[in-house]
């Protein structure tokens, strides 16, 4: 049993190391945030029901799109368009569930001479929210497929293709929204169920809002993440397609020489990323209640890349795991939560995150030699002391 465990940790060295880092973070946060009379485990503000729910909700959303980006990174590609795509899909989603006259891009509010904008805004139909969800998933998937074909089939550089996506989706969403906030409140539909499914907890969905229990601390986004992660794990680590993804990421030429259509495999990875982004975009939009197109989802693509890299994906391709991506995401979110709870300036949050990622990756690559040198120093110190004695 213990030997099996050791074997497992050796095989998944990166994941084990990052899991250790995560545990340390959680321990530090738990015991640095204890206060008398706090309602959480060990009196910790980190382990109150509300905080746990908040953290897991964010892990859910970030985890879903990070899985998509991680799969793309395993093909030796990159997807920079995630955050902008979320803003675009958020605007479209809210437009789809609100009447045309209340949309900020409507001719009533818009002063632009450019007629395309009010025309477009006017012609986006108002549909029921389940239809809107479906449309968003389809748009996201198609955009992913388009980027994938450009990278896989036309052999354009992934960085450039998705950088163009990053700029243009953000631009289009600001254009559609007339550069102002789009509110979920303008809808005339009853969105209670959508809100429960998007921003509620598993307990809310199963037993209704009034009931209180442990399941009420499990947000639906986390449930979706678990489901998507299990499916993604099976696809990536057990299926033929997953093997092709790793093969194409490692050595595209040799994979081609084995008769595999690597262009299609790569395109499909971007399609998955597009789908995952769209899937995460809906709860993110419902949770925030409005979409401010110039900031909604900003830097999400970079958090996704950071999560994937922390979790053991190599930007050179062919390396990584779903479990690792989940751990990476969790580290990022817990870190940010820690910064908040410990009362550090929120503005420093990203700097601290950057620092921890850097140290984590540094230790992963050169940890052994750093430790050896450190041990060497200690030995020498002790050696001198012994001589002196």
């Amino acid at each position: 049993m213990i030997r099996q465990f050791v074997q497992l940790t050796k095989q998944h060295r990166r994941e084990t190391g990052m899991l250790g880092l995560l545990l340390v973070l959680i321990l530090i946060t738990t015991f640095r945030t204890t206060d008398e009379g706090v309602d959480g485990l060990f009196n910790s503000r980190f382990l109150t029901a509300d905080n746990i729910k908040n953290v897991t909700r964010q892990i859910g959303i970030y985890g879903i799109f990070s899985i998509g980006v991680g799969i793309v990174i395993i093909t030796a590609g990159i997807d920079l368009s995630v955050g902008s795509l979320m803003a675009l899909l958020g605007v479209i989603f809210l437009y789809l569930v609100t009447p045309a006259e209340t949309r900020p891009g409507h001719a009533k509010y818009s002063e632009t001479e450019f007629e395309l904008q009010p025309w477009l805004v006017h012609h986006i139909p108002e549909v029921s929210w389940p239809t809107a969800v479906l449309v968003i998933l389809i748009i996201g998937t198609l955009i992913g497929l388009m980027q994938g074909m450009l990278v896989g089939k036309l052999k354009l550089q992934a960085f450039v293709v998705t950088l163009c996506g990053l700029l243009s989706y953000r631009g289009i969403s600001r254009f559609l929204a007339n550069d102002t906030t789009v509110n979920v409140g303008d809808t005339q539909q009853d969105l209670t169920l959508a809100k429960t499914l998007g921003d509620g907890s598993l307990g809310d969905v199963l037993f209704g809002k009034l009931n209180k229990g442990i399941l009420h601390s499990v947000p639906m986004t986390f449930v979706y993440l678990v489901a998507i992660a299990i499916i993604a794990h099976i696809i990536l680590h057990r299926s033929v397609f997953g093997r092709y993804i790793f093969a194409a990421g490692r050595n595209e030429l040799a994979t081609k020489y084995s008769g595999i259509n690597t262009g299609l495999v790569i395109a499909f990875a971007y399609l998955i990323a597009g789908f995952c982004t769209a899937f995460a975009a809906i709860p993110q939009c419902i949770y925030s209640g409005s979409v401010q197109p110039s900031t909604h989802g900003a830097f999400f693509e970079l958090y996704a890349i950071a999560a994937a890299v922390l979790g053991g994906c190599s930007l050179r391709g062919g390396e990584g795991s779903i479990l690792g991506i989940l751990i990476g995401t969790t580290i990022l979110i817990v870190l940010r939560n820690m910064v908040n709870l410990l009362g550090y300036p929120t503005a420093l949050s990203d700097a601290i995150t950057g620092g921890v990622i850097f140290v984590g990756v540094l230790f992963d690559q050169h940890g052994a030699s750093i430790i050896n040198r450190f041990v060497g120093h200690i030995n020498r110190l002790f050696g001198k002391k012994n001589k002196a004695a």
């Binding site: 033929v240 093997r243 790793f246 050595n251 040799a254 081609k256 084995s258 008769g259 259509n261 062919g318």
Partner: protein, 496 residues
């Protein structure tokens, strides 16, 4: 250069080679692939260091420890693969790394002023500001020569300078070599093209198996004399010969096939089921490209292929693999294997569909069992099928590539340089495997630059030269002279 020895791990590339060049002399160095021509030149050019031996320049013993030292001694090297930057202009290329400066900035005027007379010397009438990308390959090569001249080179080494030149460009280059000779500059000219050698060389030095095999003076430089000096080795015939009782099947036919490398050459030949067809030729003859086109990883410019009489779609490796045409490529590490994958993952890569459930989930035990079967059958030396391909020796890596194809149902296997970089013991095993496959009725098409291998293993040999098949030899006609004659572009003489 006197008594030069050079050993690479496992190979004695040069043993006791002498070479002497007078000022203003054009010396051609010829020899088969692997005879040591390039190694010798790399030593003179400072790329490699000799294990022993001396180099004297103008009577003083010298050590050439680096390319820049070679530069300082006036030795210029024009490599077969051009080392020019086509994003820069002519002048910038000529003075790359030695840019004249003024106020810390590049002095463009001086570059232009110094480059123009150099270009004129080489008969190039182009302004020094021309972007290199607008020049033909032949002109780019002239720029390399100009670069050597600008460093006051007294000896210019040209490694296969005409391999990618057109006929007129070649003639222009030979004229330039003549002009250089008249200016007192020595030229060392390495080429497989004996016609050019006869045209321009004052003296021919022949290398064979890393040794001096002889010299020919101006009057003695003749095609046959050069070929017999290049060859001249007794060959052991292989013990494994085709079982004559077995009838050959139709196998793979290649009809009017044109590749992207030689789009004007139509190739026709047949590999029969049950035979080993050796394909000989010099480096650059277009053999690997032909194999890649047949296998479908390179697009075809025209023509068709049939397998057992049925047409096969070109341009799709998937289609070829489905029909049973497999390629064990030249570069195992880049195209044959995924080095970071383990043995079983490499073996199953092309046949995963046979090891998965209906939902495309891989059945790992079925995958591993098949890999184990191949490991046992091919005697791959490894602790387990979970060993990473990177950690295997060259011979075992080649066997893993083979295992990938043998786990399916091969009809044709193309071996491109199957034993390159493999030790002698593993070589023999691979030959035995090839023979066993042929006996089972598989058509084996073996591309090889190793003369001994081609003559020893093949049942029949076709020879390629610059994209064309220049001849076909039946077993009774096998001889090193015959193959070499065809490989350098000679016509086939029918044995009467």
């Amino acid at each position: 250069m006197r008594g030069i020895h050079k050993r690479f791990p496992g190979v004695h590339a040069l043993s006791d080679v002498d070479l002497e060049i007078a000022a203003g002399e054009v010396v051609a160095i010829i020899g088969e692939n692997g005879a040591g021509k390039s190694t010798l030149m790399n030593i003179l050019g400072g790329v490699h260091q000799p294990n022993s031996g001396t180099i004297e320049i103008s009577g003083t013993a010298t050590k050439i420890r680096s390319v820049s030292e070679a530069d300082a001694h006036g030795i210029g090297f024009v490599h077969q693969e051009l080392n020019v930057l086509d994003n820069l202009d002519v002048g910038a290329n000529v003075f790359l790394g030695r840019e004249p400066r003024r106020f810390g900035l590049i002095n463009r005027r001086k570059i232009a002023a110094d480059t123009t007379p150099l270009l004129a010397r080489l008969g190039l009438e182009i302004p020094p500001e021309t972007p290199l990308s607008e020049l033909s390959i032949g002109q780019q090569q002239m720029i390399e020569i100009a670069k050597a001249l600008s460093k006051q080179a007294r000896i210019i080494i040209m490694d296969e300078p005409t391999s990618s030149l057109t006929l007129t460009e070649t003639e222009r280059l030979l004229e330039v070599i003549n002009d250089l000779r008249e200016e007192g500059i020595s030229v060392i000219y390495i080429s497989h093209r004996l016609g050019e050698v006869r045209q321009c060389a004052d003296r021919v030095v022949v290398l064979r198996d890393g040794k001096n095999a002889g010299e020919l003076q101006r009057g003695e430089i003749e095609h046959d004399a050069m070929v017999s000096l290049m060859v001249g080795r007794e060959l052991k015939r292989s013990a494994h010969e085709r079982n004559e009782q077995e009838a050959l099947t139709d196998g793979l036919s290649i009809i009017n096939l044109r590749t992207t490398t030689y789009p004007d050459c139509e190739v026709n030949f047949q590999v029969k089921g049950g035979e080993i067809l050796g394909m000989a030729g010099l480096v650059g003859a277009g053999r690997s490209e032909l194999a890649q086109t047949v296998f479908g990883v390179d697009p075809a410019m025209g023509g068709s292929i049939t397998l057992e009489g049925l047409p096969i779609q070109l341009g799709s490796a998937r289609e070829s693999i489905r029909s049973g045409i497999y390629l064990a490529p030249e570069d195992r590490k880049k195209t044959g294997l995924i080095l970071e994958f383990d043995i079983s993952q490499n073996i199953s890569l092309a046949s995963l569909k046979d090891h998965c459930s209906r939902l495309a989930i891989i059945n790992r035990s079925s995958e591993r069992n098949e890999a184990q079967r191949q490991v046992d059958a091919l005697k791959i030396k490894t602790p387990s099928t979970a060993t990473t391909a990177m950690n295997l020796s060259g011979g075992n890596q080649q066997k893993v590539v083979l295992g990938k194809w043998l786990s399916m149902s091969p009809k044709v296997i193309i071996f491109d340089e199957p034993t390159r970089g493999i030790d002698v013991g593993a070589k023999a095993e691979i030959y035995k495997l090839m023979r066993a496959l042929a006996d089972e009725g598989v058509a084996i098409w073996m591309i090889s630059s190793d003369m001994e291998e081609v003559l020893g293993i093949s049942d029949r040999i076709v020879v390629m030269h610059e994209g064309r098949i220049t001849g076909e030899l039946e077993h009774v006609e096998f001889s090193e002279e015959a193959v070499m004659h065809l490989a350098v572009g000679g016509r086939q003489v029918n044995a009467a």
